[in-house]
């Protein structure tokens, strides 16, 4: 609804040029003063517990060309249970090197305030496994997690390909838990590199495809793969010219600790020069 309302208010929108990842971040930041409004959903029906649909609304704003801020609001709807708000996150991404290099680092800092019912799976760290998803909403909402998440994002653009790697560390300050680690990596490419002269909705240049791999790396006490969940998934993105970007991916669990199949879906609108539109609704500056 928020996306639809903003779309009505701001008819001139553009599609984002971000790679088609759900978990992995690249070094592509939001353009200054652009606001991207996203709905990010995932769905799964685990074998031994209730199915769920998790929804996250994301507001991503280009504070500077080298600094992007993002707010996440998440909720979950669990079969035979209830639908609840699960928490929020505030994220900042900084680009310390102001020129393009072979490998471009981005520093990511996020504060998370959510409960244990959260199933957004925006990242996987530590020993996050399918057993965490068996908790009921009533039990889960009673357990608060206030976490600091740090990421080192490394990303390259090479001959139309994007290659990105993220190293994730996370610390829950509500419990005496060790630092948890995780990773995400992705490779993607537009289906066609050359833009066509005519306006077209279904041209290959408007589609991008890739593969994403992510999972936990345990904690400071037992760093490694043991007892972690791991996922891989192809991903496809459709940039509708002067319209929204639509993205989907089936993620496959790679071990018994993972969900067997997790569907991910995202729709996003990028509103160019957001504050400028508010300050000068009839054009001008």
């Amino acid at each position: 609804m928020i996306v639809a309302a903003l779309a009505c208010l701001c008819p001139k929108v553009a599609h984002a040029q971000e790679p088609p990842y759900f978990v992995t971040y690249s070094h592509i930041l939001e353009e200054p003063d652009n606001l991207e409004v996203e709905y990010n959903g995932n769905q799964s029906t685990p074998a031994n517990t209730n199915g769920f649909v998790s929804s996250t609304v994301e507001l991503e704003y280009g504070t500077r060309a080298w600094w992007t801020t993002e707010l996440y609001l998440s909720g979950v709807s669990v079969d035979n249970d209830s639908t609840i708000f699960t928490g929020w996150r505030l994220e900042n991404r900084f680009r310390p090197l102001l020129r393009e290099h072979r490998v471009n680092p981005i520093l990511y800092v996020e504060y998370e305030d959510h409960n244990d019912a959260d199933r957004s799976l925006l990242e996987v760290t530590g020993h996050d496994t399918v057993s965490n998803l068996t908790v009921s909403n009533a039990e889960g909402r009673a357990v608060k997690e206030r976490e600091l998440e740090l990421k080192l994002i490394l990303s390259s653009n090479v001959k139309g390909w994007n290659i990105s790697e993220n190293f994730i560390s996370e610390k829950n300050f509500n419990e005496p838990e060790p630092w948890e680690f995780g990773y995400a990596a992705g490779v993607s490419r537009p289906l066609k590199l050359t833009a066509s002269a005519r306006n077209c909705t279904f041209c290959a240049e408007n589609f991008a495809a890739g593969v994403e791999l992510y999972g936990g790396l345990s904690t400071t006490e037992d760093f490694g793969w043991h007892g972690t969940s791991q996922y891989i998934g192809p991903t496809i993105q459709w940039n509708i010219p002067h319209g929204p970007t639509i993205q989907a991916s089936p993620n496959l669990g790679l071990n018994d600790n993972s969900l067997g199949l997790l569907w991910r879906f995202r729709v996003s609108y990028e509103i160019q020069q957001f504050t400028n539109r508010i300050l000068h609704p009839h054009g001008g500056n």
Partner: protein
């Protein structure tokens, strides 16, 4: 002082020192272009189809800041000025790839190379004076 704290302090000082040096280069970005980048030439130069595709890309990515007619908007510069007209292809390619992040010009490295050349072909087409129109009525 603890080593971690010292490292953090050094990082902050380094960052603070680095930012003004970028700020000073506002009108001198061309000095940052390497000889290799400067030597690049536009493989699509003068091609009408490339200019038309570039116009479409311009409308999607650039017009909101630089204006529909590329004459600039507010503090965002014109792309018909001497900064662009005097720049050679390799320099324009470089600024599209790297941007001027400290001055709000984003990097467009995520656009495939060929699309950046299409944009440059379009920008060059803006510099070609329109053909004179004849006032004589057809015979």
């Amino acid at each position: 002082m603890r080593p971690a704290l010292r490292l953090l302090l050094l990082t902050l000082i380094f960052t603070a020192a680095a930012l003004p040096s970028h700020a000073q280069s506002k009108d001198h970005w061309k000095h940052d272009v390497s000889a290799t980048d400067r030597a690049r030439t536009n493989p699509l130069a003068g091609q009408l189809a490339a200019a038309e595709a570039g116009a479409k890309l311009y409308s999607e990515h650039c017009s909101r800041c630089h204006g529909d007619d590329a004459n600039g908007r507010g503090k965002k510069p014109t792309l018909r000025g001497t900064d662009v007209t005097s720049a050679i292809d390799g320099e324009l390619f470089w600024i599209l790839k790297n941007g001027e992040l400290i001055h709000s010009m984003p990097a467009w490295s995520q656009l495939p190379e060929v699309q950046r050349w299409q944009l440059i072909t379009y920008l060059r087409s803006l510099q070609v004076p329109a053909a004179p129109t004849t006032s004589a009525p057809p015979q």
